[in-house]
């Protein structure tokens, strides 16, 4: 939600508060993805906001989980009749959301200073695009693009499937990706980039937006939400996405609504206030306010017939564009389809799959994912058995405790002081780490998923079995090992190397040491996002530097699997070496100078000194640090997630932890994700124990 929209919402809420003394509206703002996961957790805990405002595609999952209320019995039928039909969101014959505007659809926007009239069809678009993609200063680098958009995202891609004739989803919510249209659309986008070269090689939303706003792109494909942002910067016009020349069909953008749903936990007096507030927030009066301030297309029929709306030429054009679109599906299966499509589509763009294979594969994957997402494993005999086993285990613990009560009590008496010193920390860790751990153990044995959100049961080791029999797990595990080993090796060798360099008489020694610690000091998420920016193919400093000083051609850091994974590793090496350096410095300081002097007398070379004195002497401090570093790196989700933008391209840059996150929050497979994290835990415990045994470091703990 844009900043301006947030402000407008606050304004109308203030107005409501003024006329309803005693009512306080608390606005909590979250980004779409987070809104979803946070509201899910909140609803599971039995709390959360009364009213949820968001895009219509969240209706499906929320309704299936049973965390929002059907609205049919809360409002009179006349209430629903006052909106245009696509603002009243229905799913499984019930109404779950009412929108306060219609739109969120893609269109072609063009900079009127550069383009006189928008292209009618794709041939024209390519022609205009070619003439406007320019290298102004003849340095071999494009300075102005004909067309930009966030073309790697499925939402920005599917309108073209429609333009080639068929649609990507069937009416019953099943995917329809194995089609000629999908193949043609894949090939079409790829040709725009590789053959006609009218779009940049790598172009995420931010890049496209910035290029258009600064007049470095003639046309952009973007949604109505961006108007407010462009209004003061570019003299722009809007048009429908140009007709596909070979088919004579217009692309079909997804048209959705943003609207209000009611939390299932809202009851009694609060519920009636909530209904009243929702009626107000969707009223013609509020919608006209949004229309005037933000150019939002109203959903209320009364507002639509208001003279101000009629007179608004932008909205008039917009209404025509909306007519070419199709409503956004609200079924929960949509997520699985997006996900399958995204991966295959990115493979086509990366050149690793041809359009036909990708179309076949995306259909297969979508069906698979829908199956796993909707899978409900019924608790069988195994479930009961496990339950019994858990019960016995707890009982056994209790009995052992009871029998050994005296010994424990005596031990407590003897070491009262130690136990008391330990108690507060123990309680804290117990509640915050041990409890969630136990909770996860139980979840990992359960069928907790989208369809069993509120009534999950223990089913046994199904998830463990499906993790371990899935080939994907082993390739992820392999990647995680590469990730960990490469990172830790670089951290340690770079750290020790720098420490040895610094630990001598040098000018400005302290300053250098201090400055080298800075990567460690920076908050990780800030550093990771900065690096992501630096890896941008065209505008990132890394390629610019490589080009300027080493005359290398730009590397596609973020859209090729190996490069993207390397980008994550480079970022993490940068973040992690200072810790090892500091530990090594600490170790170096404890080595008496005499040892070096003595060996010098014996005629030992520098290298021999390092190998025979330095390394053995710092080993005892380095080994615990290496163990910790390995565990931290293995479980470091931030860097991979932020640098590769959640596993891009095609989910090929995931390590185990980032995959856990995706399984849990993207496809609602909580049980599976919990089982996977238990396996990660076991892997790390085994590593630690064997590593400590081998380095005879039982004494560490």
């Amino acid at each position: 939600m844009l900043y301006e929209n947030r402000k407008a919402l606050r304004e109308v809420c203030d107005k409501y508060e003024d006329s309803h003394p005693g009512i306080n509206i608390n606005l909590i703002y979250r980004e779409t993805e987070e809104l979803r996961s946070n509201f899910q957790s909140a609803a599971l805990g039995g709390s959360g906001p009364e009213l949820i405002y968001g895009p219509s595609d969240q209706v499906g999952p929320f309704a299936v989980m049973g965390i929002i209320k059907p609205l049919d019995d809360l409002f009179p039928p006349s209430f629903f009749n006052q909106f245009s039909s696509n603002a009243v969101v229905q799913f499984q014959d019930k109404t779950w959301m009412v929108g306060d505007g219609v739109g969120n659809h893609l269109m072609l926007m063009y900079n009127k200073d550069i383009v006189s009239s928008p292209p009618e069809n794709t041939d024209e678009m390519i022609k205009i695009g070619k003439s406007l993609t320019k290298d102004l200063d003849d340095d071999g680098i494009i300075d102005q693009y004909g067309l930009v958009w966030n073309f790697t995202e499925p939402f920005f891609y599917v309108p073209w499937i429609g333009g080639f004739g068929e649609w990507f989803i069937n009416d019953d919510g099943s995917p329809n990706l194995n089609t000629k249209s999908n193949e043609n659309a894949f090939a079409f986008i790829k040709s725009l980039r590789d053959e006609h070269r009218i779009i940049p090689k790598e172009c995420d939303y931010e890049t496209a937006n910035a290029l258009f706003k600064t007049g470095r792109a003639a046309m952009i494909i973007n949604g109505d939400w961006s108007w407010g942002d462009y209004r003061d910067k570019v003299d722009f016009g809007i048009a429908a996405l140009p007709m596909v020349s070979s088919t004579g069909v217009f692309p079909t953008p997804l048209v959705s609504t943003k609207g209000y749903s009611i939390n299932v936990h809202t009851t009694s007096e609060k519920l009636s206030h909530t209904i009243d507030l929702m009626t107000y927030l969707t009223s013609p009066e509020v919608q006209l306010h949004y229309m005037r301030r933000l150019n939002v297309q109203p959903s209320s029929l009364a507002a639509l017939s208001h003279p101000d709306v009629q007179a608004n030429s932008l909205l008039k054009q917009n209404a025509a564009i909306i007519k070419k679109g199709r409503p956004m599906p609200v079924v929960p299966e949509l997520r699985a389809i997006w996900d399958a499509l995204r991966g295959e589509y990115q493979s086509v763009l990366a050149g690793t799959k041809d359009p036909h294979t990708a179309a076949v594969e995306s259909q297969r994957k979508a069906i698979d994912q829908i199956k796993t997402m909707n899978l409900v494993i019924e608790p069988g005999v195994q479930g009961k058995f496990i339950k019994g086993l858990l019960f016995l285990f707890i009982a056994a613990l209790g009995i052992i405790f009871w029998i050994k009560k005296k010994i424990y009590l005596r031990s407590f008496q003897e070491n009262k002081f130690a136990y008391l010193m330990l108690l507060p920390a123990f309680l804290g860790i117990m509640s915050v780490i041990i409890f969630p751990f136990g909770y996860n153990l139980i979840i990992s044995l359960s069928n907790f998923s989208l369809r069993t959100f509120k009534d999950w049961e223990i089913i046994g080791f199904h998830h463990f079995a499906s993790v371990l029999t899935d080939g994907g797990f082993y390739s992820l595990f392999g990647k995680t090992i590469i990730w960990t080993v490469v990172n830790v090796c670089f951290h340690v060798s770079l750290g020790v190397f720098l420490a040895v360099m610094i630990n001598r008489t040098l000018p400005a020694k302290r300053t250098l040491r201090t400055l080298l610690i800075i990567p460690w000091a920076l908050p990780q998420y800030i550093a990771a996002l900065t690096w992501r920016g630096m890896f941008n193919q065209e505008y990132g400093s890394i390629n610019l530097i490589l080009n300027k000083f080493f005359n290398m051609s730009p590397i596609q850091w973020l859209s090729q699997p190996v490069e993207a994974f390397s980008a994550c590793i480079i970022t993490n090496i940068w973040l992690g070496f200072p810790f090892m350096m500091v530990v090594a410095l600490g170790g170096l300081q404890s080595i008496p100078k005499e040892m070096y002097e003595a060996s010098q007398v014996d005629g030992a070379s520098r290298w021999q000194q390092f190998w025979n004195i330095t390394l053995p002497m710092i080993k005892p401090v380095m080994i615990p640090a290496v163990i910790l570093g390995t565990i931290w790196t293995f479980n470091n989700i931030n860097v991979v997630w932020l640098v590769s933008n959640g596993g891009e391209p095609s989910d090929l840059t995931h390590i185990l932890v980032s995959y856990v996150y995706k399984a849990a929050f993207n496809l609602y497979r909580y049980g599976y994700a919990a089982a996977l994290s238990m396996i990660i835990f076991l892997i790390l415990s085994m590593f630690t124990v064997s590593f400590m045994r081998r380095s005879k470091l039982d004494a560490v703990v």
Partner: protein, 275 residues
Amino acid sequence: MSKKIETLFIFSFLVLFTLATLYPALNIIGISLRTDDAFQTRSLALWTAESSFRSYFTLFLETDFLTWMKNSFLVSFVVTLTGVVLASTSGYALSRFNFMGRRAVLSSLLMTQMFPATMLLLPFFILLAKLKLINSYLGLIIIYSSTALPFCIWQMKGYYDTIPAALEEAARMDGCSRFSAFIKVILPVSSPALVITALFSFMASWSEYVVAAIVLQDPELYTLPLGLKSFQASLATQWGLYAAGAVVVSIPVTILFISLSRFLVSGLTVGSVKG
């Protein structure tokens, strides 16, 4: 003579390396000085003709940045205090006493680091909701202090191990109780490790986002990372503001690190092995 050349060589290498290391940090400062739309440029210069401190003015004058900062300081301060008190006492117990369950406690401390943190979120939320601690600093503080504790305890225990036991034995002979021997004798000599513990607890809470996002819901209570994230709408990030905010958020931690780097080297023991 060759020694001098070698020093010069190493020195210039280190300077180059440091500059390369600092580049990403400088890069974000550069972005914070540009306008929102100018972040996609091909210029490597950090300061351009268009650069200005405008984002910083907007940040402090037009957003709630100062409130978030105050909140973050409050939370981090309490977490640091709790972390230091709890880690210093329990680390001491683990270092000096051989009681039943000691080894189990030590290994489980290490084990806590092995579980993927993302999967702890849902249970956290359910726990806090049951305890009615959602939307309160108390909930946040409990989580932050406890998640930072295992490392801090390990670290304190490692440092205590290097202090000879004869020290408090002497104090006990002079009639000190165990506790006062700990307070009067051991704590003062452990100051480097205490400083490190404080630093780690502070860092764990200062820039944490994920847990804060599920616990805090009232914008009045937002901490810095939450506030910063609100500049980052999915389809229209205010990059200038975001970068300026990021720079300001990083300043306190960086200053802490720089001023404490002396202790870092002497106090960070990560649990070294007794020789």
